[in-house]
Amino acid sequence: MSRLGNRLRTIGRILRHFASRQRWFLVPLLLVLLCAGVLLLATGGLSYVAPFIYSIF
């Protein structure tokens, strides 16, 4: 339960961050990513990391 609470708290922080920056146009993209992220976590995730991954993601 505490892990779920932590995740919800982080989601709240993300949404507050985008709201405070007037970045609402990013919300659809964010929602797609969040939904896919949940699927990703549920299915075990990706592990491949490319050399320039830190520069982009």
């Binding site: 505490s2 892990r3 609470g5 932590n6 995740r7 708290r9 982080t10 922080r13 993300i14 961050h17 985008f18 920056r21 970045r23 990013l26 993209l29 964010l30 990513l33 969040l34 896919a36 992220g37 949940v38 990703l40 976590l41 995730g45 990706l46 592990s47 491949y48 990391v49 490319a50 050399p51 320039f52 991954i53 830190y54 520069s55 982009i56 993601f57």
Partner: protein, 574 residues
């Protein structure tokens, strides 16, 4: 009075650093413990090791500070993805994997893994953490601070003014944002030249001395330097905005010629292609130095300060640092020994401690902030392995005698170093005036490319005799290069680069008594207070951490002796 743990990781060079009551208690890079080079995973081994070294439990921590803001980073990724749509579309799965598979939850994961209350874990800004690591460990009460790397959240370069007195603070004066980045320029060309990104950049710096900077016209398209110190990259030549595999695009190959295949042996004497690649490296190095000089002169103008501090991966470029020390107009220059992302952990911890009311730490005089080696355990294990072990009455004299007679000696003393350089705590020592020692060291152990030099370590109070400009605030941490004086250029050929310089480290008895004693003994034996000093690791491995690593190395590599504290360990009988 607070205990603050700083954490860096998730991209490269994961590390943990612990500051207690304003004192830097420990700082450890994860790769030393996990034995995975450039380990980027959350540094849980390092964090627990720092706590154990201080005799603290995770529950004793007042705060844990992550070195960058994961949500700011997420925003930059989203904006960048939209900006490069549809080219970046195929990167989406990776964006999902890296961001939502772990990175945005990093604060939660740190709290859960360490067992710390979530509200005690926070984050700071990537470049502020770098700036804090540089300024707050420097000996200066006020200084201009430059942080230059690939990219933090959205910033690649930042200028700060650090002050200490009425208020200890770092004030940001300006920044350059991604995708314009000196670090990514250097990384892109590192990949183009066939080296591994985040690892091969220092090889490019070494290669540069073999070439001529004759491609300035071509590089004028890759980067434009402005009079106010800022710069812009020619983005069509770079692919990193939309491709996580490549730093450079087809346009760069059209401009500079085909990329160099990775792992092909170098032949600078006979291969025209390799000489061209060396010219590209030389031009890149020159342009990077000029960009840094432009930034530093602007920093001098805007802060009026006489001291400059540097951090960020680009500050590991020792050749550029030497030029900054000579030409930027600052009287003194300091580079944090762990200038790359690992150093962000210490910067984050210091920022957290200052925010909680603790004083700024004392100036860093030694990088020995890691875990100690245990001579007792080394002795027991060596005997179990059937190795020769004896306690030396005069260990410095014995090491000097071995080195003087052409032997290669691994030298371990006390706590291991913070940062990528071996500074005498986990070093391999050899005779700097003996080309055969150097040849054997490279052929049998290090297996370096032929253009990469070895470095010298010298007694601080004798350094000026052998190295022009030494000592200064950079030489204790091997973050600069100095020309070898004319009188010793031939004799020190084993530690001399092709351009006559050496990446020198200076040592004094107060901060490294064991190594200083070896150098003093070498002075009596070979007439030079200097040793060839290279990191105690094999090719592609992290530097040795403990006695198990050290004995494993002795058994698998042809070094002549391993010295741990006062023990001399050899493969044969004692």
């Amino acid at each position: 009075m607070a205990a603050v743990l700083g954490i860096s990781g998730e991209y490269h060079d994961a590390a943990a650093a612990l500051v207690v009551d304003g004192v830097i208690v420990a700082a450890v890079q994860e790769e030393r413990l996990s034995r995975i080079k450039n380990d980027a995973r959350l540094p849980l081994h390092a964090a627990r090791a720092c706590l154990a070294h201080a005799g603290l439990a995770a529950g004793d921590l007042d705060r844990v500070v992550f070195y960058e803001d994961p949500i700011e980073k997420l925003e930059r990724v989203l904006v960048s993805t939209l900006r490069t749509f549809p080219r970046a579309l195929r990167q989406f799965p990776r964006a999902l994997g890296t961001q939502l598979g772990g990175k945005v939850w990093v604060i939660d994961r740190i709290a859960e893994a360490l067992g710390v209350a979530r509200d005690r874990v926070s984050s700071t800004e990537h470049h502020r953490a770098h700036a804090a690591s540089a300024f707050f460990t420097s000996p200066y009460p006020r200084a201009a601070v430059l942080t230059v790397d690939g990219v933090g959240e959205a910033t690649s370069t930042a200028l700060w003014h650090g002050t200490h007195g009425d208020g200890t603070q770092l004030r940001e004066l300006g920044r350059i944002e991604y995708p314009h980045s000196l670090g990514l320029l250097y990384a892109g060309l590192t990949a183009y030249l066939g080296f591994e990104v985040n690892e091969g950049e220092y090889k490019v710096m070494g290669l540069a001395a073999y070439g001529q900077p004759r491609l300035r016209d071509e590089f004028a398209r890759l980067i434009r330097l402005h009079d106010d110190g800022t710069f812009e990259l020619g983005l069509p030549y770079f692919a990193y905005l939309a491709d996580a595999d490549l730093g450079f695009g087809p346009a760069m190959e059209a401009l500079l010629g085909p990329r160099r295949p990775p792992h092909r042996p170098w032949d600078l004497e006979h291969s025209a292609d390799d000489r061209r690649y060396a010219d590209i490296a030389a031009t890149l190095q020159q342009v990077t130095e000029e960009a840094l000089l432009g930034l530093a002169r602007e920093a001098r103008r805007r802060t009026g300060s006489f001291a400059l501090c540097l951090a960020g991966g680009v500050a590991l470029n020792a050749v550029a640092n030497a030029r900054l020390a000579r030409e930027s107009g600052f009287d003194r220059v300091f580079v944090h020994p762990a200038a790359g992302d690992a150093g962000g952990a210490l910067g984050a911890a210091i920022l957290g401690a200052i925010e909680l009311g603790d004083p700024r730490p004392s100036a860093l005089t030694s990088a020995a902030l890691g875990l100690p080696i245990d001579p007792g355990a080394a002795c027991q294990l060596a005997r179990e392995l059937g190795l020769g072990v004896r306690t030396a009455g005069d260990v410095a004299g014995e090491v000097a005698q071995l080195v003087a007679t052409g032997k290669i000696v691994a030298f371990c003393q006390g706590r291991f170093e913070w940062g990528p350089r071996a500074l005498g705590q986990r070093s391999i020592l050899a005779n700097p005036a003996d080309p055969d020692s150097r040849e054997r060291l490279n052929r049998a152990i290090k297996r370096r490319e032929p253009f990469r030099p070895f470095a010298p370590v010298v007694l601080r109070d004798r350094a000026a005799t052998y190295f022009e400009g030494a000592p200064d605030d950079l030489t204790p941490f091997m973050t600069t290069v100095c020309p070898i004086t004319a009188a010793y250029r031939e004799r020190l050929a084993s530690v001399r680069h092709v351009d006559g310089s050496a990446r020198v480290q200076t040592v004094e008895p107060a901060t490294a008594p064991e190594l200083a004693a070896v150098l003093a003994a070498l002075d009596r034996t070979i007439g030079l207070p200097i040793a060839l000093n290279t990191s105690f690791n094999g090719a592609g491995e992290p530097i040795i951490a403990n006695e198990i690593d050290a004995l494993g190395f002795l058994m698998s590599h042809p070094i002549d002796a391993l010295v741990v504290g006062e023990l001399v360990i050899t493969r044969g009988a004692a």
